[in-house]
Subunit: 255 residues, 2 copies
DNA sequence: GCTTTCCCTTGATCCCGATCAAGGGATTGG
DNA sequence: CCAATCCCTTGATCGGGATCAAGGGAAAGC
């Protein structure tokens, strides 16, 4: 059975002011009246399913999208096809920010699991932000946040072993889930090993092997998509250690 | 001799409206009157020299910086010292965008060669952008551009060999120099091999070896910091090829 | 219900790039 | 002017991860 349209329309249609994500999303810092205005331009569609597309590389840019529930992956395709995963997006995160500059989407976005998505026409958002300074400020903040996250990812990919990369991925996921009030240590991965591998710049086999190694070491339980982190501290220290191992650090002063 | 203050103050003090970078920088799309207003909040200091610091990781965020002439590197330091280079910045590029979200600089920025820098207090820029819609738009565009560039870098680091990474670096540099009206095939690198290596996630020795290999292949001439690209097309095709090699691509259809 | 297909895991081998080691050339400082 | 230092280059060795190969198990399609 595919079309489980029974998913509560209440969940889908919640206005911004009642949305549990308000603190993470655009409404942050806005007065109730301003949220009301923002609410007026947000389009809420019925839930999308695994494989559905939000936009494709090359599409003209019209709207930003926000994940309400579920998860999304963004990816770029080379001239010959094939894909490089650029990011995984959880509830409250904005998608499409990289398209503002050129007015054309530089990457594609598809749905990883049944998800509710808000669409926000950018032209309207922009002019609204011009009338609501705190919305403008929040938009600057969200764009800046995205830049910071990308830099973090560069750090992770810069010079790190497979273990460090996967640990970094899991720790980041865990932290973001906790922020959303979900379990930080027990969750289901909505993406395949192949997608994780592409994201981390590794081979599928390596991802699988490192999962096994982490399990042997007692860091986590893994059964297909179900992950239970047993020793988050150990994983965090793998990521932290990476920093100093790879970059010599302050010299021990001459004798 | 250190203090070569003889550098023409004319170059330093040019107002935005006379700056050759206007098309790349914040003034883009603004009316002359609006540029005048922007000009009022820009601080122009005397030239900075190699090793001077614009801001450090952890500093409170007050201003954005724009390179007028010269070049800048941004980098993050791990808890134990040691640095990971995050980016190299050429004239017209904004620095510090990643600090808006948290109000604290997430990375450090230092000067690679004698450079002229404009400082723009962000609070003033933000409120000005609220009165000038086209400035707001340009700020959104520049933030978005930064996100797009980071994504491009992720693509480069994702899954690529040393040759592909260095080729990508050179091609990107070449393109950016051309945009600024400089030679796309003959230039001096303002950063050391070590800094390039850190940026690309490689060892210094590897960077050196790949430079040599490119020279043997006739792709470029290299003498210390002086680079002359002889076969830009070859370098570009190395980058392009990477895409399809690493990501299988459309399957050739079953027999 | 059975086959097909995809996804994941594990094993074996090979290669690229990190690391170790050394030396030359340019710049800096005494 | 010479010594010290830093930066870059080249050579030799080693190891981690990609690749090749195989097999099991779950979901999907007939």
């Amino acid at each position: 059975m595919r079309a489980r349209k029974v998913i509560s329309f209440d969940t889908i249609r919640v206005a911004c002011k009642n949305c549990t994500l308000a603190a993470l999303c655009l409404p942050r810092g806005l007065t109730p009246e301003d949220v009301e205005q923002l609410d007026g331009i947000v389009k809420r569609s019925k839930p999308l399913h695994r494989g559905d597309s939000l936009f494709c590389q090359g599409d003209p840019f019209r709207s930003l999208f926000v994940v309400k529930t579920g998860s999304i992956k963004t990816y770029a395709t080379g001239p010959e096809g094939g894909e490089q995963v650029l990011g995984f997006h959880l509830p409250g995160e904005l998608i499409g920010l990289d398209a503002i500059e050129k007015g054309v989407h530089a990457c594609s976005a598809t749905v990883l699991e049944t998800s509710a998505i808000c669409e926000i026409p950018f032209a309207q958002l922009e002019s609204l932000s011009n009338r609501i300074p705190s919305l403008q400020h929040q938009l600057y903040r969200l764009l800046s946040k995205e830049i910071g996250q990308d830099a973090e990812m560069l750090l992770l990919l810069g010079k790190k072993s497979a273990e460090e990369r996967l640990a970094g991925f899991l720790v980041s996921l865990s932290r973001r889930l906790r922020q959303r009030g979900l379990s930080a240590t027990d969750f289901y991965l909505s993406m395949s090993r192949h997608e994780i591998a592409s994201y981390l710049g590794l081979a599928v086999e390596t991802v699988s092997r490192v999962f096994s190694r982490f399990h042997e070491e007692g860091f986590l339980e893994v059964e297909r998509k179900h992950i239970q982190l047993r020793d988050l501290t150990a994983l965090e220290s793998i990521v932290a250690k990476a920093m100093m191992d790879h970059h010599p650090g302050s010299k021990p002063a001459q004798p």
